[in-house]
Amino acid sequence: MALPSESITINLGPQHPSTHGVFRIRVTLDGEVIQDIEPIFGYLHRGTEKLAEERTYTQIVTLTDRLDYTSSMINNQAYVMATEKLAGLEVPERGQYLRVLTAELQRVASHLMGIGFFLQDLGAFGTPLMYCFRERERILDLFEMICGARVTVSYMRPGGVNQEPPPEFWPDLRDLLLDLPNYIGELERLITENEIVVARTKGVGVLPRKLAIDSSISGPNLRASGVPWDLRKADPYDIYSRMDFDIPVGSNGDSYDRFLVRVMEIHQSLRIVEQCVQQIPDGPVRADVPYFFRPPAGDAYAHVEASKGELGFYLVSDGSIAPYRCKIRAPSFINLTALTEMLLGWKVADLMVIFGSLDVNMGEVDR
């Protein structure tokens, strides 16, 4: 005779060391097995889309920094591409190369942070986190050199980038490109064959291929489930069509694959940066665009491959200096669609592992 057991509902509150921001999950447990979850977010909502309706196109760049605050350059890139599509602006080549260079460096920094916090959630007492952040500091120092700020960069403008990098940027970048693959290799040796990491992440939180495509998941999560889809190859923007790089694609769709796809993407991003440094031409970095420029009435959608997935900006203009509507397609928000299916049936200890492997950023989810 089966004993009657009741399920208990626990609140994994907004303040929690492992939830990557202010995210609240109400978990219904039967013993230790998760039966149902209810994600509650919105704690970081700042009204970005409404604020964008009251700021000029150049001022909105400062708002986009703060969406996914771990990858500000890529947010900037997506937005300024949308404004250029709206206004029909041509970006000079050097500006495009600088955009791709900084965007790929930012992708490396964002993945390092994602990997570090994933391992921190697994319980490796902060050591891989410190190693990842030590390398991320070098990239942030480069950003400080190029635009004066480390995290909220506001580097790109409609028509190009803001300023030319200083002359001391290029030797430091070259040093970074020489050192970083070794450090990433060291990180791989620390983690990817560690039996405990493998035992805790392999086969855990499997995202089947069909569910991933049906839920509009994008980015490394989609590629780990076996779908070779990358916007830099499928719909190239800026000068990605001239870059030679590969796409890591997983086969199982479990947490281990998601984690490993990010590690391998770092290597590919460094390849792209290397090619940018070799190929970059001289010239102006920004098209001559007035500050209060008025694009013609209409709408435009531009999307980029952000570090978390497909980031898209849909801008509607009515001919004035501020957009009529700015809609942001945030990848982390859409990636959370399949969270319930991924978590059902797993234990509480796996909840943090699966959530950490999705690499969600609450700044994007809540905007």
Partner: protein, 186 residues
């Protein structure tokens, strides 16, 4: 590969890192080195160059610059320079994006270098015009290519006078240059 070797390799990596020099910077005795282009909090303002045009206030995304001017009665031949009564920058809401610095057509406002402007009261978080007039003139090289070309470093360099900080040349343009710019370029 035998079981347990992954863990062994990981432990060797950790042991190697034991021998590395720590990367900690002992604040407040030491400080992290900032690049001259750092967008700091201590704004640098040159009263001699400012005309009170309030472009900085217009460009600011947050709208935190408050400028109140009165006609000064000076330089009426050249088009009158405003007298600034109030020039408040509210640090509490400023995000140090630098758009105001980008806006200034006269190179009168520049970003500074510090990051230690925290105060106990929110009412103290405003930079008034007296503070701007009295502060040390060490502008950051952000969006100021003329300062960068001079390899100026606000942390170690001397204060920059208002005559040297602008992007215009100190030599008057020749007739041909003026003609090329204003007549032929149209």
């Amino acid at each position: 590969m035998p079981y347990g070797f992954g863990i062994a390799k990981g432990m060797l990596v950790t042991l190697r890192n034991l021998a590395r020099k720590p990367v900690t910077v002992q604040y407040p005795e030491q400080r992290v080195e900032q690049h001259p282009r750092f967008r700091g909090e201590d704004f640098v303002w040159y009263e001699e160059r400012c005309t009170g045009c309030a472009s900085c206030a217009k460009y600011c995304p947050q709208g935190i610059i408050k400028i109140v001017t009165t006609p000064s009665g000076e330089q009426t031949q050249e088009g009158e320079k405003y007298k600034l009564e109030t020039f408040d920058i509210e640090i509490a809401r400023c995000m140090f994006c630098g758009l105001c610095v980008e806006a200034c057509p006269y190179d009168a406002l520049h970003m500074g270098t510090g990051f230690e402007r925290a105060r106990p009261r929110q009412s103290d978080l405003v930079i008034t015009i007296e503070e701007l007039k009295a502060s040390a003139k060490r502008p950051s090289t952000w969006f100021r290519p003329q300062l960068q070309n001079k390899k100026y470093d606000p942390a170690t360099g001397e204060e920059v006078s208002w005559q040297d900080v602008g992007r215009e040349s100190t030599v008057a343009p020749t007739y041909d240059e003026m003609r090329k710019r204003w007549v032929d370029g149209r």
